[in-house]
Amino acid sequence: MTAAVVAAPRIRQRQAFAAVLRRDLFVTWKELPVFLAQVILQPLFLLFVFGKVLASLGYTQNGYSDLLFPGLLALTAVITGMQTLAFPLVVEFGWTKEIEDRLLAPMSTALVAGEKVLFATMRAITATSIMIPVGILVLGSIPWRWSGVPLLIVALVLGSLLGAGLGLVMGTLVVPQRINIVFSLVFTPLLFTGCSQYPWPSLSKLPWFQVVTACNPMTYVSESMRAALVPSVPHIAVWVCMVVLVGSVSALMGIGVRGFYRRAID
């Protein structure tokens, strides 16, 4: 009378995990134009105004778009990862309760959180990769070094995970009533203190702001992207970036998964 064939727990968990991921990919595919608009518009406009318009009008120096572009890749990765998780999680836990059907799938609660992180990371990597052809279209040419690609990929993955971690923490800690205020309090500062529009060492002229930006883990994504694509521009040492990023991602995942458990199980 019951489903008699019960697969071994590990296989079952893998099946459930794959099915939940498939569901997320299916929904993204169905809403592809919305997804693209959501992730591309902001960096596209930043790129266009700062990299093209201001340069054409002579307000920025030659070469500014070269250091802006890697920063915008970092920004896209972090922001997309965060947006994919934070808002939907708040809504699903607090309001639509949609997540319950997945929490009751035969898989551990940590895996449900893990799927969310993997999915957000995939979206962030996709969105950032799209920025490369967009950059070529808008700017005419982008700074590119094949020898920097391995570091670029590492920075891209870590930046996407960083965004996913931020999203997981925000999505599980914020109550629905506070979502708007928390988002505006977190989002804008994160956007402008992450060194995506300026290299960190150049801030030595503005020491207090240099300290502020050093506290934003996105800074280290922007700096490693620059190290990969425009190494001639002074940047934070790559090993420092890696240590900070691995540390931040681990801390955020730890806090986020604990928050996820707290929301999922009373």
């Binding site: 019960v6 569901r23 309760k97 949609e98 059907d101 035969p106």
Partner: protein, 341 residues
């Protein structure tokens, strides 16, 4: 069937589908236990109703059984699996229909069903066939490709029950399945639940509607303040209620008055708690008729024959007999001193 591992040796058939042993839940920062040491067992194929007012601990009990609430103490088992120590296995055996819709709003209701099946490892072809069958049975085929955003409470309820059946759970938990539904939708859900009972699906439902519990459940647990006050079949609960079943006799005494010795003789009958003569101001022609109400513990119908004999011995004509049965609401009032709502 017989090749089910491990459990078959000690007889899966005798294993309760759901069992709760000394289960306690105290939420952090709460001074009292939300669920306070309850125990019950539900046999496979049985319908178990957890009846009680809001805040009695019903939803918390279901939450613990369905891996969403961690028990403070005690054990909650589904299909022989301890849900706290092996939640992953337990989840493959159970399904939940919550009070409020938690349908996936990004996908059509058909995909709500098929993705649910995929989460539970049901092969795609089987899931598609089963989804069609259930959509048809629940009258949802026409709207199968619609997203559930605009569904009414009753429709969402139907979709959620259909979804829950996609992986053929050993136990189906329904939290207040008809609360907030209009009468027609409620009857529809009741019919579907009866069909499930006939198919042998184990159902555990919470409700604060005693009528619903009486109509659907084989076994009812009455809960209040986290405690299980009574646990039995609805009939037994109502029968066990002292003196609230009634037997009303319309008699025609010869001289117009019920003789006191008769009243005393009726009171002597086993099962009769007390006898009340009912005085009504009926007009003259019926003046010859008198009514007696017997408050009975146990089955009132069994007293019809002895009372008829008593009356006949005294030469009194018996005009009519009326049985009054107690409701689960009476049982609840008796147990708690309060009404349900």
């Amino acid at each position: 069937m017989s090749d089910a591992p491990a459990e078959s040796s000690n007889g899966t058939a005798n294993l309760p589908a759901v069992e709760v042993i000394d289960l306690v839940k105290r939420y952090p920062k709460s001074p009292v236990n939300a669920v306070d040491g309850i125990a019950f067992a539900v046999a496979p194929g049985e319908v178990f109703g957890l009846l009680g007012p809001n805040g009695a601990g019903k939803t918390t009990t279901v939450g613990m059984l369905t891996t969403r609430v961690r028990p403070t103490r005690g054990r909650a088992m589904v299909g022989g699996i301890d849900v706290a120590s092996d939640p992953v296995r337990a989840r493959s055996l159970l399904a939940v229909v919550p009070q409020r819709s938690n349908l996936d709003r990004s996908i059509s209701i058909r995909r709500n069903l098929t993705f649910h099946a995929a989460y539970h490892g049901v092969p795609a072809a089987e899931a598609t066939a089963r989804a069609n069958e259930l959509l048809e049975q629940f009258g949802l085929l026409e709207r199968a490709n619609v997203k559930p955003d605009l569904f009414s409470g009753g429709q969402a309820q139907r979709v959620m029950i259909a979804r829950a059946l996609m992986h053929e759970p050993a136990a189906l938990f329904l939290d207040e399945p008809t609360t907030g539904l209009d009468p027609a939708a409620r009857l529809f859900v009741w019919d579907r639940l009866r069909e499930l009972r006939e198919r042998g699906v184990t159902l555990i439902l919470t409700t604060h509607d005693m009528h619903e519990a009486a109509v659907l459940a084989d076994q009812v647990g009455i809960m209040d303040h986290g405690k299980l006050l009574a646990l039995d079949t609805p009939e037994a609960l109502m029968r066990g209620l002292p003196g609230s079943a009634t037997l009303e006799l319309s008699v025609r005494p010869q001289n117009g008055d019920v003789p006191q010795p008769l009243v005393r003789a009726l009171e002597q009958l086993s099962g009769v708690e007390r006898v009340e003569a009912i005085h009504d101001d009926t007009p003259d022609e019926d003046a010859a008729e008198r009514r007696l109400r017997l408050y009975v513990s146990g089955e009132a119908s069994q007293l019809i024959a002895p009372t008829a004999t008593l009356l006949a011995e005294r030469g009194l004509g018996l005009n009519a007999v009326e049985l009054g049965t107690p409701t689960l609401e009476d049982v609840f009032i008796h147990l708690t001193g309060r009404t349900l709502r």
